[in-house]
């Protein structure tokens, strides 16, 4: 759930609860104040009635007005307690009944030895009307407040979070091997400024680590070349010795083969770092179909030996790119398609303006699409003849060229598809 939604949910719930509770309190208090006011007035009336009785020694006339009524009831011996009540009186017109709420005060009074219960009533309707108006205004304000809060949250908060979102976008685009650093927009919010600072430091450190790792690979591979050259040359000289026995020669063959693998691995590692370091930046117009055909001819001998059936559907495609890299790209894919094929198997090459697809039969089951491009990934059933870097190199070339490469497996065919429409 979005932070804003989460915040809004809590915020609106709390706001509504608080406003509701405060409204109820408000209502109760206003009502209490107004009713007390009414009661005061009734007390004043009581005093007036008592004063009148004391002065004239008789009861005043009962009155029956809309807003104030005074009634006297003979009470006999009963002395009524002084008490305030709210009563509903039904007023009857010839047309309709109307209920009206009154505040009533009853007390006893003695006139000439006779006891009377006096009931003074004042209309409570106005009070109720006032409370109603106040309630309406209050709820109006509550609704308005909620609306305002909602919009403030929506727009103000998303504006406040803008720097965070910017940083997030930058982080999503962050690429270790890219030359440029993350570009974070300065912000006046302390928290986000801090976040940006941390992100900056972390990405720079990651880049540095990556850079030094890359340099290490590069240097290590370079440093390995001279010893490899020495071993190679010593072997070349050694085998000239005519006194070597067959047994010794066989041992030397083993050394040669291992040396070849090591040199090969070394070359591949160097190639990978070189591609990563963008050392192949010459761009030229390449006829991709020509390149594919050329490679197919180069591999003819190898594929013929395995009796592979090659089906090629190649349309003329011209691209702008690095010739050497494209050469390696196609070479590696075809080499794999042949190397991991079964005798009498098939290879299909399809090239058009949108994509290059190379699919082949193989003795291998489906490969792990997640891992297939990783360095030194080999399926358990492969013999140790590849160096495990071929597809990493392919992937790296595609990444640098902005192509998307994907692997899929169906109908017992391994398929590598390169989308030639550039992503970047």
């Amino acid at each position: 759930m979005k932070l804003l939604a989460k915040y809004n949910r809590i915020n609106i719930f709390v706001t509504i609860s608080i406003l509701l509770i405060s409204s109820i309190c408000f209502y109760v208090m206003i009502r209490h104040v107004l009713v007390s006011q009414l009661d005061e007035d009734l007390k004043v009336e009581e005093q007036e009635v008592i004063d009148f009785v004391n002065a004239n020694n008789k009861l005043p006339d009962p009155s029956n007005y809309e807003d104030q009524q005074i009634e006297f009831i003979k009470a006999g011996n009963i002395t009524a307690e002084k008490k305030f009540t709210s009563v509903v009186l039904v007023k009857e017109d010839h047309k309709h009944k109307e209920e009206e709420l009154y505040r009533q005060y009853g007390f006893s009074i003695a006139v000439n030895g006779e006891r009377y219960t006096v009931l003074i009533r004042k209309s409570q309707e106005q009070t109720e009307d006032l409370i109603k108006i106040i309630a309406w205004i209050t709820s109006g304000i509550v609704v308005l407040l909620l609306f305002i809060l909602f919009f403030i949250n929506r727009f103000l908060l998303s504006r406040l979070w803008q720097p965070f979102n910017n940083t997030l976008v930058q982080l999503k685009q962050f690429n270790l091997s890219a030359k440029n650093n993350v570009q974070l927009q300065p912000t006046s919010t302390t928290e986000f400024a801090e976040l940006n600072k941390t992100v900056q430091v972390m990405t720079e450190r990651a880049k540095q680590d990556y850079e030094s790792l890359k340099n290490f690979t590069d240097n290590a591979s370079h440093e390995m070349q001279t010893p490899l050259a020495i071993i190679n040359s010593k072997l070349d000289v050694l085998i000239q010795d005519e006194s070597l026995s067959e047994f010794q020669m066989r041992q030397l063959q083993g050394v040669y083969d291992a040396l070849d693998r090591l040199s090969n691995l070394n070359q591949s590692l160097l190639l990978l770092t070189k591609i990563e370091n963008s050392q192949f930046n010459e761009q030229e117009n390449i006829s991709l179909d020509g390149l594919v055909r050329e490679k197919l001819i180069q591999f003819e001998e190898l594929s013929a030996a395995r009796k592979l059936v090659i089906t090629a559907n190649i349309q003329p495609v011209n691209i702008s790119g690095n010739k050497k890299l494209n050469d390696i790209l196609i070479g590696n894919l075809l080499n794999n398609a042949i190397r991991y094929n079964v005798a009498g198997g098939s290879i299909t090459v399809k090239l058009d303006a949108d994509e290059l697809i190379i699919s082949n039969s193989s003795f291998l089951p489906a490969l792990d699409a997640e891992q297939v491009f990783q360095r030194f990934y080999r399926h358990a059933d492969t013999k140790q003849d590849g160096n495990g870097l071929g597809l990493s190199i392919v992937k790296q070339i595609c990444t640098m060229a902005g192509y998307n490469i994907s692997y899929s497996y169906f109908n017992n065919l391994h398929e590598f598809k390169i989308a030639l429409t550039k992503l970047l």
Partner: protein, 223 residues
Amino acid sequence: MKILIVEDEKALAESIDDYLKGEDYLCETAGDYNTALEKTELYNYDCILLDIGLPGGSGLKILKELKANNKTDGVLIISAKNSLDDRVEGLVLGADDYLPKPFHLSELSARIAAIIRRKNFSGSNLVKFNEIEIDTVAKTAVIEKKPFMLTRKEYELLLYFISNKGRVISKNAIAEHLWGDDMEGNNDFIYTHIKNLRKKMIESGGIDYIKSVYGMGYKFTDQ
């Protein structure tokens, strides 16, 4: 034929020296920039094997000096820095060839022979071995003056053998020469090509000079 080996790795220079001596080359070595510069200024060589990373300075600077002094020595750059820039720069500066380390000495020897052939103008595009003659410009071969039809790979193989005559060449070196880095683990193909080459040499009235050496490699020899 005089060769100067400019290489700071003693062990490597030694091996190159050992290998080339057998080819009737006269080899000198220089282990650093100053020695190399001095030697190139004083003497003329048929071919200079030039390492780029040298103590005291870059081999490319020596190449520049050579060209500035209008020297015609052949130059073969042997570098551990198999970077495209070095290669391009070296060739632009006038180097005749570029061989990245590690390399097989048989490959080195064949490259040197090619450079010297190109440098010597007097009918030097002909490579001879007894009754076999190869025209390296037309890329054709004759045996006893009779044309000798070869496939591209067989031609390359024959030339490679003759450039390293009397030497044991490992199958690994042959594979790398014929196919480069593109295809690994295809030593079986070498056998097929060699079988065909032998057959053609005999059919054309020549002698099969290719001796197998314990399954490790081959030797082209008339002894």
